[in-house]
Amino acid sequence: MAENIKAGNASGRTPFSLRLSVLPFLAKYGTIIGLAIMIAVFSFLAPVAFPTVSNFVNVLNQASLGIIIAGGLTVAVIVGELDLSIGFSASFLGVLVTGLMVWVGLPVPIAILAVLLVGAFIGFINGVIVTKIGVNSVIATLGTGTIIVGLNFAYSSGAPIAMGVPDAFVNIALGRLWGVPHNVLIMVAVIAILWVVVERTSIGQSIQAVGGNPVASRLSGIPVDRVKIIAFMICGACAALTGLLLASSLGSGTTSAADGYLLSAFAAVFLGSATLRDGEFHILGTVFGALIIAVGFNGLAIFGAPTFYQYVFQGAILIVAVGLSSLGRLYAAP
């Protein structure tokens, strides 16, 4: 008995012998092709509004927070664990950061730092429950997530904290630098850091190793529990960042503002696992996954599809984008 989650399906199947050279290509770039087709179709359907620079910047801006939280989740998922607490924890920390500024009167940078630390601490608790108590991460993070909802309510009693949020804080998310929204810059920085950490550092290698085979990792001298805890902490800190940027964009802390990020982050992470690599979770894949979701949403809304279609399309995008690359993988030679 071993790891909790694995991307990909790959039950060691044998493919048909059809093995055109297009298939491995499809496997690798299937989701990206899906994104490209989507962009092409929307550009055709809504040629005025959709394919403009400002719309792309706006979509990117809207997607930024989702990418950050999904990037953090990717780290947890790479280490082989799920974190269902991220949405609740982002909501709570968005409330907390405004509370710390408005009620406690902490300066903006201190409040932000404090909240990032609390986010990492929540991750630490998750990690400890999973590794030291041995609770499956689904249950553990569902549990801590539920507790966090309670804490959030105890802190704010459900009322948004809207009065007296400093402008300096609000400007973090709403400002622009050289015409690029801050959110986008922050997102790019976070993704770059996550990528370097996961792909180019020893802790990142350890995270990948533990996710791949915890037993072999332990026998290779990797402190498995510590690595898992660190992964949860990274995930928690990213959730905190998303929560506080959301509070900054809204100009207030609201009890359940970020709850919805949980599902979209999962969708992004799993979509991403079908991108570029063989069903492996990775940071860049997640970015693509989140972009697919954001572009799909934007395009459909611009095209003005009715609610019913929006749901159907969104569901279909997930299946088709991943399906393209899975089919490519299944029927290409291994």
């Binding site: 009693s157 948004p160 709403l174 809204l250 979209s264 949403f297």
Partner: protein, 293 residues
Amino acid sequence: AEDKLLLGLVSITATEDNNHRFIEAATKEAAKLGWEVSVIDAQGNADQANAAFQNLVQRKAGAIVDMVFPVTSLGAGIKAANDAKIPVGTWGGGEGAGIAAVNGSGGPMATPIIEKLVADLGGKGSVLLLTYHTGKVCRDREEVADAILAKSPDIKVTKNEVRIPGYFQDGAQYATAWLASHPDGSEPLAVWGCWDDPALGAISALRQQARTDVKVYGENGNAQAIEAIRKGFMTATAWQDSAQEGIVMVQTLAEAVKAGDAWKPKSVEVPAVVITKDTVEDFAKQHPEALGK
């Protein structure tokens, strides 16, 4: 303590501000009457709300209030309460068989706001309605909006459905998309949220794009929306005095308990207060509680 009357409040989500205000006021009012109050958070789950009703019947509650769940989704719960002759009030759940008292029907609140919206646009332009069909209150408000907007054929309506959770992001993303096809200066523009939160999401998108040409309208009048009106980001919202509604609900149910079998179902609505930039400061003086802690 045994013969203290027990008032059960079954909330769709006790952590939401409006619900919370209703609960607080109702609890205070109930305390005045010497009642005991028990709040159950059904966490958005109709089945749990039914279970909560049954649990309250189990505890021989004197009265139960359904907060926001439409009566159509509380068949089993209302039946259990009726069988035990416990009067049921609904706040935002609508009227129905076996319901003793009704208020908080949010539908009518949309009337002044949508009428203001039409007037502000001058009868033409485009409007984005952020809707939520699953919620009865939102659906009622949308019907009101449809009826009023139908009279202004020069206003083009786009509807987008937000999700719970996720209403902020959805509000922001729909607004972003809608703005892309409605550039600055093209025509009079407005966004309406069937409650404040999606509208606030839309405001964050507007501010990120530095668009000041779009009027934004909300409903409910939560602290955040009031603050947005003060700062000029939101044009108007209708403040639902849920605290007063909580008080009225308790009073009505107290009458119902007294009247026993002779009670006739009653609807006691508390009128909403329209807040705009002009009225916001006066409003804030009169209702400091509406602005949060």
